[in-house]
């Protein structure tokens, strides 16, 4: 169901509109593509002037990476090449909400099976670890979700505190839904979770570019987030985006992303960058979800089939996907980290992997990675092994 159809559609939507840079066809006229241009140190103004003079439109400036993202046509691209103002160029790869099957439900008191499965019911949240959710927004005012401890940024897709799609609100609920008020509970529900919402997707789910995502995660870091949760991805890596995540990692932030729902053995980005934790999905029987992509970058598994969480309009819904597994891991990371605030991101990441419940083939495997994420086991691991804040990969 998910496999080739989604991959093909993804590829088609990602690049059919960007293939016009190819030469040798009359079909190029009037078509544009979004491209990331790197410039040599000190040549930013020259490059931007050249892009604009040639009819291109600069969309984003990535100063940390000596790069700008711009919409250009084939003629513009040729002019820029001829002027020699760029160091290199790459297609600005598309990043999409990882699609999820959804069924809405009337409001009712229910404990999602995933909480016990990841041992979130065995540890109280001690506070102080802000989680950033990059998604379709947040239904601020939902009775199950925090409101006073939530901040956000808009990235051009609408107000961060609204969500006409539902994906972002569902993800946020798995992390932060408040316990004891008759609704659902999230991994950090025993306390009051601190969230930062960066809305990059519109009400239709839409897509953004890798350069946009690089900007979004910088927003997360600037807001003081220690964990970044990304239930999104795309098939094509980006050099500039990879550098942005490496920088985020060096800044002490733990980035976590969905492995993808195409059910095949291909990488998805940002999940498959070394600096990002790639999350696979399992069902309520701890079996690998058929749609969950298998790769050598899979690090942890978490519940992602028929997970129950908050939905816009005050209700709740079941959704399935690696998108749903990802916030379980993000929540557990924050839950464990709240008890060991002196640990750094590498030490938390290592503890989650070292304490994961082995599933599937003995030891590491491509379906489950190191296994099912376990909050209490990670806590116990750190109690025994401690950390000195100098941990490395």
């Amino acid at each position: 169901m998910f496999n080739k159809t989604l991959l093909t559609v993804l590829v088609a939507t990602a690049f059919s509109a960007q293939a016009e840079l190819v030469e040798g066809t009359d079909m190029l006229a009037g078509k544009t593509a979004r491209v990331i241009f790197e410039y040599h140190q000190g040549n930013k103004a020259e490059l931007i002037a050249a892009i604009e003079a040639a009819g291109g439109e600069v969309k984003r400036q990535l100063d940390h990476d000596n790069a700008v993202a711009a919409v250009v046509n084939a003629d513009t691209f040729k002019q820029l090449q001829a002027k020699g103002v760029m160091k290199s160029a790459e297609i600005d790869a598309v990043r999409q909400v990882i699609p999820s099957a959804v069924s809405a439900n009337e409001f009712q008191d229910i404990a999602p099976y995933g909480l016990a499965m990841v041992q979130a019911d065995q540890l109280n949240y001690a506070g102080g670890i802000k989680v950033c959710v990059v998604d379709t927004g947040y239904d601020l005012g939902h009775p199950d979700l925090p409101s006073t401890t939530v901040t956000g940024d808009d990235e051009g897709a609408g107000p961060w505190y609204q969500d006409g799609h539902g994906h972002g609100t569902h993800v946020a609920g798995t992390i932060a839904a408040i316990d004891g008020n008759g609704g659902v509970t999230g991994v950090l529900g025993s306390g009051m979770a601190e969230l930062h919402i960066v809305r990059v997707f519109d009400d239709e789910g839409g897509f953004v570019y890798a350069s946009d995502l690089a900007g979004a995660v910088a927003d997360c870091a600037n807001a003081g987030a220690k964990v970044v949760s990304m239930s999104l991805g795309g098939a094509f890596s980006s050099k500039v985006e990879a550098r942005a995540f490496a920088r985020l990692e060096r800044a002490g932030v733990l980035a976590i992303a969905a492995a993808g729902n195409d059910g095949n053995a291909t990488h998805s980005y940002p999940a498959s960058y070394d600096s990002v934790v790639s999350v696979a999905a399992v069902d309520k029987d701890m079996q690998h979800a058929e749609f969950s992509q298998r790769t050598s970058q899979i690090e942890l598994a978490a519940p992602g089939v028929d997970t129950y969480s908050t939905f816009p309009g005050g209700g709740n819904a079941w959704m399935s996907g690696t998108s749903m597994a990802t916030p379980h891991v993000s929540g557990v990371a924050a839950l464990v980290w709240s008890h060991f605030p002196h640990c750094n991101n590498y030490e938390i990441r290592n503890a989650l992997s070292a304490s994961a419940k082995d599933l599937g083939d003995a030891g590491y495997d491509y379906k489950y990675g190191n296994g099912l994420v376990q909050a209490k086991a990670a806590y116990d691991h750190l109690m025994v092994n401690s950390c000195n804040g100098k941990g490395v990969k």
């Binding site: 088609a12 293939a19 040798g24 790459e90 094509f236």
Partner: protein, 183 residues
């Protein structure tokens, strides 16, 4: 066996749904090589190719492709093949294709090469077919990172192998040699 046929049929139906009416247009000649992410593995896939469709009936070209860490073929030591290009060109939706219900190619608005391959891996011997789709500026200096949007092996020892990824390498577009009218 029945399962395999059903799989092929479903792939064919899917391709037809998405690309019915697509035909190869224009004359093109490319050479190149580079790396891309493995199909799920931890090492890069490596490829070289040349492909030429410069008018007339003759399509020429070769593809070499190695993905030693492809996780679905790990038990046989990965994918390694050489291939002969059977058809190549820029794949576009055309009026002629739509009118005649033709589907020559799979990847609309991209370059596509269809090929017949032989495995170079003695642990997975045999022959099969596949296709690769890509786009690139073709300026060949290695400072533009194009993409392979599909590298699919349809049958043979690596049936079901599929990969996509950003290319790190050098893809060069060449002019077709001018035809000599007198000949």
């Amino acid at each position: 066996m029945v399962q395999n046929k059903l799989k092929l049929l479903s792939v064919a139906l899917l391709a037809a749904t998405l690309s019915s009416g697509c035909t190869f247009i224009g004359e093109h000649k490319f050479t190149g090589g580079g790396t891309m992410a493995s199909a799920g593995g931890d090492k890069n896939a490596v490829f070289t190719f040349n492909a030429e469709n410069c008018g007339g009936d003759e399509v020429k070209g070769r593809v070499n492709y190695v993905d030693h860490s492809a996780i679905d073929f790990e038990d046989v030591g990965g994918v390694s093949l050489k291939a002969q290009v059977d058809n190549f060109g820029y794949c576009a939706l055309t009026d002629e294709g739509l009118e005649n219900g033709v589907q020559e190619c799979n990847c609309m608005d991209q370059f596509e090469a269809q090929f017949s391959y032989s495995s170079k891996n003695p642990q997975a011997p045999g022959e099969g077919t596949g296709f690769v789709c890509f786009f690139d500026t073709g300026e060949g200096k290695g400072n533009f990172h194009g993409a392979i949007t599909a590298f699919n092996l349809i049958d043979g020892p690596y049936e079901g192998y599929g990969n996509v990824g950003t290319v790190n390498g050098n893809i060069q577009q060449h002019s077709c040699p001018e035809t000599n009218e007198a000949e």
